[in-house]
Amino acid sequence: MKNTLTFPNGLTRRSMLAGLAAGTAVSALPRRAHAQDVTLRWWSPQGAPAQAEAYRYQIAAFEAVNPGIKVVFETTSDEGYAPQLAAAFASGEVPDIVTHLPSFAVQTYYSNGLVEPMDEVIAAVGADDYYEGANDVFKAADGKFCATGIGNTASDMLWLRRDLMEASGIAEAPKNWDELRAACQTMQKDGIFGAPLPYGQNSMTSLIFIGFIHRAGGSVFTPDLQLAIDSDATRNALEFYKSMRELCPPGATNYSWGESLTAFVSGACATGIYAGRVLANVTAQNPGIADQITCTTYPTMQADIPAWTFNDFPSVFIPAQSKQKEAAKAFAAFLFDPEGYIRQLHAAPGHVLPVLKSISANPTYQANEIIQKYSAEVDLMSSAAAGGFNLGYETSEHASNDKAGEVIASNAIADLVQRVVLNGDNVDTALSDCSKAIEAIMQA
């Protein structure tokens, strides 16, 4: 039986000890983190109620062993963090710690001198405990780490309903685009749509469509970061994406992450494209289909093209303008304390996957009902995410692209999709305009 001594404020002995350890780590850092009346502002776009509750626990545990340091959590959003941070950096009113932002965004900030190196935090957490290469995506041109991973996310898994597949006579998961389209066409009936692909003027459309370019055998940039989006692969991806439009709900023209997720979870779509949050949401909101869902990596155009999974590599970083860097570093390291970190991961089981080997192997982490029930799906997402990429790190051969954040924020790729798919614009013209827009960002 687990021995848990609970303190009056709800903290366990383990978290108190972990806090003490963090306190010790703080004292090892160059300057004292336990200055009096320090307030740390913590931003994250991952602010679902269960996650916020886990954060509150971590904050309370940290504050309990660091009297005088107060942590305030503030949510941002996947679509809103870029402008909010741009304004914060410009005004100097920055948060002291930011979590769950994609790696490519941090690389952009670091290349402009806006982010503090995180090497000390990685050392405090234990560099050997990370999965091999887990922090490679955060390695900057100067050899330092601009952030560290707080999790992995396989953001564009293909979610399926076994019951609908069976009813439509589909024996196995689609392996290429023709099979996927045929499956969606067969399952689109009785008020259920085939897929909730995003066609909105937003970052999700850009990020998801980049995956389709790769799954057609192309890329946005060459390994030495020359623009390569104007290619046959992109044309093929656009053609497929356009052909899927009639299999998506009418409102997909305005979909972002939330709408796409809800469309599958609610049962309105036969397939889904999302990360592991589907598991918790289906369990809580639509338990009737909970036994029927499964996932696989999103099919490629042809079987000989390898799978490409979008991992945004959720990060932890500290803005260089923070006035409380040492306290922020101590708190960043404390976020990986097993008890709090596992609570955080359990708040969205299978969605944010652990980056530390000790956590994956931890029985407490494995004890989660959803992780146990969907162990095959979680394992698949873990391996897909571990081999995942994003625009800042398109393949293992690609140089780190510190302009990727700006390319995504510009919506140039989402605009390409909208022009070709929704407006029926000429593909060559739209691709040429998209290339010019991205080139201008790269040259700026």
């Binding site: 402008p83 304004a87 003027q201 009418p250 023209t253 609610s266 924020a409 022009r419 700026a444």
Partner: protein, 299 residues
């Protein structure tokens, strides 16, 4: 030739006058002149927003924006939105004010409730309307499909011209109460003998509206149209939250481009150039409008 000389007392009064208006002038400079000059100055530089690193580019930002098709399409979108929503606000506002001016049941309650859209925050209003418009769960599509008017949900916010029409309608719903308040206040001050005289002359309700009510509302409408036109022209949050400027850039108005330039593309100097251009356009429109309405008033 005579020379006006001030007595010591007059000079003291003059100095006192200057002293007394000085705080107002200082505040005016701080909140109006300084931001205006700053925006103009900023628009002459290339500025990277997060670091505020800048380099002098002169009028290059203006040349670039005027040469881009984006400026003209955003301007057209802004004018369509402003004209569309403003017209609806005025028509709905006057109509509702006329109804609320009548001796109807629950008039006080109705007058209070009519202000509801104007009082709620834009974020809340947009969330509600997004649910109303939702393709899968929205009440509007549900009703249309139940009534057999459509067999597929209508895409209200993701296709054209639906997106622009939806945005204009929501804008009109949100802001027409302002017109109601202002027009209702004026209606209550129109002398009743004017209507009595019109009735004696055989004027019906429509003739009384056009010959008595509307001319009496003229002054207040001039002000309402001017204020609402300015506010609608620079409307950002409602359109941004409803469509984000999409589909493609079909509802992308000038303020949305300013925001994108400043915080998505991180080009603060270019954003300032867009904002200054926007202000110049608005200024020209307002000068023309005020002159036209003043001329008509003089006749």
């Amino acid at each position: 030739m005579t020379t006006l000389t001030q007595t010591p007392l007059e000079r003291r009064y003059a100095r006192l006058g200057l002293l007394l208006i000085a705080p107002t002038v200082l505040i005016f400079c701080a909140v109006i002149i300084y931001p205006l000059v700053s925006a103009l100055y900023l628009s002459l530089f290339k500025v990277f927003t997060p670091t505020l690193e800048s380099s002098w580019v002169g009028l290059a930002n203006y040349r670039e924006l005027l040469a881009s098709g984006m400026f003209w399409s955003a301007l057209v979108n802004t004018l369509v939105w402003t004209a569309g929503t403003l017209t609806l606000q005025i028509v709905l506002g006057i109509g509702m004010a006329l109804v609320l001016h009548q001796n109807i049941w629950f008039r006080s309650l109705a007058r209070s409730l009519i202000l509801f859209p104007y009082f709620i925050s834009t974020v809340v209003a947009v969330l509600v309307w997004k649910w109303v418009f939702n393709d899968l769960y929205g009440i509007l599509n549900h009703l249309l499909m139940q009534a057999g008017i459509t067999n597929m949900p209508v895409d209200y916010l993701g296709s054209m011209p639906n997106a622009m029409i939806s945005v204009i309608l929501v804008g009109a719903w949100k802001y027409f109460p302002f017109v109601v308040i202002a027009v209702l206040a004026r209606l209550q001050t129109i002398p009743e003998p004017l209507y009595e005289a019109a009735r004696i002359d055989g004027a019906g309700p429509i003739a009384r509206f056009f010959d008595v009510t509307l001319p009496q509302l003229r002054d207040v409408l001039v002000v309402i149209i001017m204020l609402r036109a300015i506010w609608d022209f620079k409307e950002f949050d409602l359109i941004w939250l409803l469509t984000g400027g999409g589909p493609s850039s079909s509802t992308e108005t000038l303020p949305i481009v300013v925001y994108r330039q400043a915080f998505a593309l991180n080009q603060m100097g270019m954003a300032a150039a867009w904002a200054v251009s926007m202000m110049a356009i608005l200024l020209v429109f307002m000068i023309v409008y005020i002159r036209k309405t003043r001329d008509k008033g003089a006749v």
